[in-house]
Symmetry: C2
Subunit: 196 residues, 2 copies
């Protein structure tokens, strides 16, 4: 690990997302996963774009409770934003189909908000990636939902799954942000948080 | 597979790259890997940008030899382009270090040229992705080369490896193109090749 002094801290990730666990492991960070309670992912109506996942990431950090000395807590939230609206996680199969039809042939934004918090300070940052989907056929949407069951994913897709390979024409921003964590920015911000 | 009539054809990938094998498998394509002979990856001096990998992809297809009826051959080449020059695969450890120092803190382009060929016609296409590296420290470059040995990679890095996670700030274009194959475009172009 190349973040000076990071070994002095115990890093805690409060997220159930397997993609976030995977990405944090890939940078070589030692961390624990601790989920104290489920946080209601609601937010005030007037929030837009990155304000929404920043609000939720902060709420996740607050509801975690007490942070010990020399502990650093990381929380995050990711939303899919299309034409001024949030596309949530699908509630069922029909909803996943509806969401993917909405994304088809268009550009949308993926915003992640991240909160890094210790016992006496916190830091918030966000990342945005534009994602361009080709026009998806009904057969492609049907095949993807049946085989990948994207019900735990904002926007009903995983860019690292079949639909990302055949459907995403290009992106503008961080690829890993679309998977749920802007990992390069997190690496840099953790360094600032510990050493600035 | 959702490319109409593709099951009538035998798809052959003439590439030794494990990343290309992986990406082609991910879209669910049935294919064989066949390498007849090593192709010298030279090109005329006056070529620039995507002209270079297109030239080499075409040369790989020509040197493959006879293509049978109902066979489709896929060849590809990827280059890293920085400030008007190609950054090749590193010849040794010092060269990998030199290349990564050059990419550090800058934006470069990754171009892939692809040739799709049957017994009576061929199609060429290319893709370009801009890749923005943060300023890499000497310790980061050293750690990456020692642990990942990026000697088979144009530009001495794999975006899907540690250095991609901690070092790439953003991209503009296809992520999988940087891994060696613009897989979404290939999926679309294969459909055109077979059904147009």
């Amino acid at each position: 690990m190349f973040i000076p002094n990071i070994d002095d801290y115990k890093i805690i990730l409060a997220s159930a997302s397997p993609r976030r666990h995977y990405l944090l492991k890939e940078i070589g960070l030692e961390f624990e996963i601790k989920l104290k309670k489920l946080v209601e992912e609601s937010y005030p109506d007037n929030l837009v774009k990155e304000e929404i996942p920043l609000h939720i990431a902060k709420k996740k950090a607050s509801s975690y409770g007490a942070i010990e000395d020399m502990e650093i807590l990381i929380t995050a939230d990711t939303i899919v934003w299309l034409n001024g609206n949030v596309l949530q996680k699908p509630i069922d199969r029909d909803d996943a189909e509806r969401i993917l039809k909405e994304l088809s042939g268009k550009c949308h934004q993926v915003y992640t908000g991240v909160c890094i918090k210790s016992s006496y300070k916190h830091l918030l940052f966000s990342a945005c990636t534009d994602v361009y989907f080709k026009k998806l056929t009904y057969a492609e949407i049907d095949f993807y939902i049946n085989n990948f069951q994207p019900f735990d994913k904002a926007g009903a897709y995983g860019i690292q799954e079949w639909i990302g390979y055949i459907g995403v024409e290009k992106i503008n921003g961080s690829f890993f942000n679309v998977m749920g964590l802007p990992i390069q920015k997190l690496y840099t911000e953790l360094d600032d948080f510990i050493n600035d």
